[in-house]
Symmetry: D2
Subunit: 337 residues, 4 copies
């Protein structure tokens, strides 16, 4: 009666890169303390089952003193998070209208979320900064016809009150926001923004994971996580889409995909086998001219075989269609070396 059935934690297969531990994080979700439909304990349980390393419960802040206890989500989730070895980051969603106004933004690593309950958004952001928060703009394309950078964002940015942007939220990708991150050196963020039970939002028979931010952290601690976020060492991973600074994106691809076999056969052909230890399906399209396959999909947790005539073998450039190094540019890689 009411006990969970046997629980299983899934593994997210993303290799560590560049000497960092890659933490799988979701920094945007709601509970019964605002308009979410589940408890804080459920959020921790879901994160554990899905293999996440860190989450933040970011209920909408009521911008009215004493309206409710804004620390509740964190307080209710804390014990379970400790037992599940999940980093639970204290945070909240600053909730104002957009233009006029800053729209929604999440503040992480807060000391006391209640102090953000002012109805003046400039005060709210200042208070967050005073507490040492990492602040990012949420879903810049939400409920608007076209995604735009408003003067309020400029004001926040110029005052050091904006550290990142959600370039992916729930089901939506904002390529323009990728370009803003690159141009302004803001941190790439990707979150679920889940309100219902997570299984109601995503069908895990079809998608492998919720949208998440991959953080290149020196270790799995809150302190290291914060340092990495402020330093902009992140990638976004949503559905099968990867985006971020080229340096990180390339390192992830290189750590995932290996040419494991190059075997000449009697037939005058050579057999190449590529393996992919990650969960990501890499979708490659030929860029160079030549008698090489036009399309190669190196599926996650799989290998792919390619046979070439010996005379056709040469290093060949492919574009990786699901991996972005700017809003509209893809990673390029070289096969058959």
């Amino acid at each position: 009666m009411g006990d969970y059935p046997l629980e299983k934690r899934r593994m997210i297969n993303i290799p560590d890169i560049l000497g960092y531990t890659v933490l799988k994080c979701d920094f945007h979700m709601h509970t019964l303390n605002s308009d979410g439909e589940v408890t804080a304990a459920t959020r921790v349980q879901e994160a554990w089952e899905e293999g996440l390393d860190a989450i933040s419960i970011t209920d909408h802040i009521a911008h009215k003193k004493g309206a409710k206890d804004e620390n509740q989500g964190y307080d209710l989730g804390r014990k379970d998070a400790t037992e599940k070895d999940i980093l639970l980051i204290k945070g909240g969603e600053i909730t104002f209208p957009l233009n006029p106004g800053p729209g929604h933004a999440n503040a992480l690593f807060l000391q006391d979320v209640n102090k953000l309950q002012t109805d003046d958004w400039r005060e709210t952001f200042s208070e967050a900064k005073k507490q040492g928060a990492f602040i990012f703009w949420n879903h810049p394309g939400w409920a608007v016809d076209s995604i735009r950078w408003y003067e309020e964002q400029s004001e926040l940015y110029n005052n050091g009150l904006l550290n990142g942007i959600e370039v992916f939220n729930e089901f939506e990708f904002y390529p323009e926001a990728v370009n803003w991150c690159l141009a302004k050196n803001l941190t790439f963020i990707s979150n679920s923004d889940v309100h219902s039970a997570i299984d109601r939002l995503y069908d895990f028979n079809i998608v492998k994971h919720r949208p998440m931010t991959l953080v290149l952290s020196s270790e799995k601690t809150e302190k290291a996580l914060k340092e990495a976020l402020l330093a902009g060492r992140t990638l976004i991973y949503a559905y099968n889409l990867i985006a971020g600074k080229e340096e990180y994106v390339k390192a992830l691809y290189d750590a995932s995909v290996k040419q494991v076999t190059k075997k000449p056969l009697d037939s005058g052909k050579t057999l190449f086998i590529f393996s992919n230890e990650s969960d990501i399906d890499y979708i490659l399209k030929r860029q160079d001219i030549g008698k090489i396959p036009e399309d190669i999909v190196i599926f996650g947790r799989s290998t792919v075989n390619v046979m070439l005539e010996n005379e056709d073998i040469k290093p060949s450039v492919y574009v990786v269609e699901n991996v972005f190094i700017s809003g509209y540019d893809n990673l390029h890689v070289t096969l058959f070396q």
Copy 2:
């Protein structure tokens, strides 16, 4: 952000029988108002998606005056239930120890659940009866080594304070309770007793439905439902198991399974085809001697073909292994007529 994805209501394929509408019901579930993990609105939404006709939110009653508002589950779920066309029955779970004490029992069709907040179980049951409740004993095998009928059950039964028994609860079937229902003319009940989100309790990729009570009702109204429960016109349907009075069980089988083809072929054989419009998989084992198949499974929403030599054709009795007419006796049916 937070909207449900496109919702779909599944159809439960159970034929109407004996001139009655067969209502699919779950009379035992919990919300945040006791030890459940979801809201009343979620319970209604789940029931709608699963194709149920009627539910009762039966949070544990605090047997202490004013401890909480025991009508809350009903009140919070009412509007959604109306819009979803789900019959929401006001009820509560009477929660006392078992022997000494009556154990747990659900009271349905209550007027004011708060009035059951006494710490004297006899008073609580009397009050439920005063309000016209239908009362059933919950999970008689729960947390005990062997399932037994205690003197408290006798007292309740003799005073007309017991109308039915859960012969199936969550994952567990109590064959002894089936026999008690038959011997004492009590109503067969089957429920989920769900505390978490329903998808966390049952994997709907594997099981088709939650455990439910099938009620043979004159129409889909609360009044008709109550009349049918008091008259004992129910069957239990849990996983692929059916149990109840032989009359109802047989009617359900007959309305589900049809011999749709009996076609002599040139080869001296005859082709029989049986169809099954219900969701139930009927598992048949040969009882009679003869050159007929030993095992026949007439899958739900499917047909099955059987070829017999013409000389082997005769009416043949099979036992239906998943359909019970007592705690240990199965329905018998005749094929190849």
Copy 3:
């Protein structure tokens, strides 16, 4: 060792319409007798499991006398088809180049496929007609950059040697071919053209059925099926797409979707419930102006609830986006009557 596990035949839920039995048919598939990878028995078994009524094994004809026995697929599948109650239609795939040449075409209801082994395509088509065949042009968009009606098709059509066109083949829909069928009174055909095991071509965890032709037949016999095909009484059903003459398309929608509830509530609103007994998901988009939902999906084997303010209720036109009455026109329906 080697026995099939317990077999189950799925039900395809398509209502009978206009007084006809709707037969579910696939008239294009291959076996080991040409470039297919499975036996004729496997084709029959697959068809049975998927709930089909009729199939034709249409291996590529070798247009060279005596090259192989072109009747083999039919002969090897016949016994199983009888025992499975599947109509197995003798046929073959006429296999010539396209322009010059007629391309590929299937001839059904042949007497002796071997007689079509000539290397002159005009002779082959004449022989098929002499045997009373129903002949349709296969995958008109296959291996060409743009789909075109060639002079060879005109010649066949003018000589009464073309009765239908595959407007859907395997994964591909040809809207132009729909318009040709309407303009020239040719029969709409949809087939799988499967070569491998069917489960390798379609993932039945994702799609419900293989592409099929729905034939409005007076009964389930080969004779009635042929009469219906020659009379053009078909619809195509592929993935969730329906196309055909408006009369048949509309009858199918009307037999699938019912407004089962129109219940005024106390709140000044009215609850409408629509049910859909078919497997087809009907995707509706609002055409009329008004305070009514912009998008309604009436999922297959499901119901959908819509609440309207009483003052907003009026008959309202929706376009059914997955149901076509020409290559580019959709069925229109009226809700809230």
Copy 4:
């Protein structure tokens, strides 16, 4: 038309152990050259998709000179096997009655299978040995009421004509055969014996892999594979069951399961986390007395958390219920060290 959809090779997650490469092998399957239903090319394709390293196509040998070409399966599968990097071992199924007679046995690493077409079983086994075959007894429990070691097996064994036994075939496990392997130093073998398409035999939505033999080989070559089989370095892996010599079974468990965290918490408790990189779900039951969990399931590709009161921590023995070191004895392991 007829092209495969995008192919994906699954990874079987079994760690390498004791300095050996663990090859995943199925040495028993049929094609159209005996009573199988698919081509040799399909067998290779299936093996590739499922992540196998080595297979043998072992069609039933016709024990009549010239009846058919017994090398056909190997010859037809060879080219695809090379391109897929699958080791294809030439073999055949010696097919005689059991007692009197030797029953069925597979001979692997043959030079010319046709030479085994004699109708005298002693001659057939001698010829196999002459060709240097590795020979194992197939499905000793097949089609018999009780599994028994017959005099024919003794004769073969005493003459060095028996190297191993299938202790798992298709769906069936033979614990007695495990004991025979241990007592007589025979090699443990596990195979699918598939006749139909593999997806028809196993539902890969439910089971992860076909039954297979894990071979501890010095490298992935035919020569090394043969050496390992003759040396008895194998484990069986079927469904979630592992069996073999204790030395190998223990090495596999130790390479799969790691205690990755032992973290004292403020609450006076300690958090243990165990990870399992393999696909195998290890099912543990407490053997020792103590306040430790009675049941622990360390799911494949997952981690499990256990919280203990500090005073309850001590090395504790668990029995691994799905891992066998004899027909009826399980592996024992120690947790919380």
